[in-house]
Symmetry: C2
DNA sequence: TCCGCTAATGGTAACGTTTTTCATTAATAC
DNA sequence: GTATTAATGAAAAACGTTACCATTAGCGGA
């Protein structure tokens, strides 16, 4: 019964930089990729901080995260609502997609005695550019 | 233009043991869990071998794998066809489910200029038993 | 404006999982 | 049986990620 703590956070330069860097990416990127990007831009941000911010953005719903090849990738998402992605396996570019009714999920789960907590659905493929360059390979 | 090598493999006791151990699980298990299980059963199999076999089973399509909390989990799958799971987040128990038509996937992808290579769709929740024990907590 | 509190940072060490290495074992073909 | 070499296992390396902790710096109040 502990009351909801106000939980004061401070706005720092690093937070702003990380967040804006993530938002300017339309691809899913890893913490390390983002860290390198920031370094290249001349910003000195610790890797630990990048991890921390990315995780907190993900927790607060300001970023989506998926796991590919044992690596966690992040992407900023504007809308707070639940949504899914169409991800390019080559360059990481992603598009948010809207699947048809997901009602059957809870229905199906109930049939098996399950109580749904969450679901994930991601489509992987090659975007137009990557598909083109792959063909000419 | 290298011809398809016959790629001869040898059947070993370890392969058999690992495969049968995985098949007797109706849950998703990690390499380490399976390794411990084998040890408990009196089998002495190297951890590296468990990893190797699990990966090769996954590659050959004889096992499905998902990633939860940075860990890779495996599960034997009888059917070679594409399928999805309803997974208990607590105990790992899984049921194969059949989603409605997935035609819209390729359609949607095409709209965005993507060429679909694969898609993943997993539902997570609590099975009847785990939900019950969670409530009485 | 300065002060004090402490959230946040950053470098590094630690961690856990997975892969690689390499000498040894053993499955297959002859 | 013998030769060949795929497969194994123990340990080390690699990898992504988190924890630690001394230091920095937001922010509210004197």
């Amino acid at each position: 019964m502990t009351a909801e703590e106000p939980k004061k956070t401070r706005s720092t330069a690093q937070k702003a930089v990380i967040r804006s860097a993530l938002e300017s990416e339309k691809r899913f990127v890893s913490a390390q990729q983002l860290h390198r990007t920031l370094e290249d831009q001349g910003h000195t941000v610790g890797l630990a901080t990048v991890y921390r911010q990315l995780n907190s953005l993900s927790d607060s719903g300001h970023a989506d995260s998926i796991t590919i090849a044992e690596k966690q990738l992040f992407r900023a998402c504007a809308q707070d609502e639940h949504h899914h992605h169409l991800v390019c396996e080559n360059c990481g570019k992603a598009v948010e997609v809207e699947p048809p009714s997901e009602d059957w999920i809870t229905t199906t789960a109930r049939v098996h005695g399950f109580e749904v907590t969450r679901h994930m659905f991601e489509i992987f493929g090659l975007c137009a550019e990557c598909a083109a360059s792959a063909q000419s390979r």
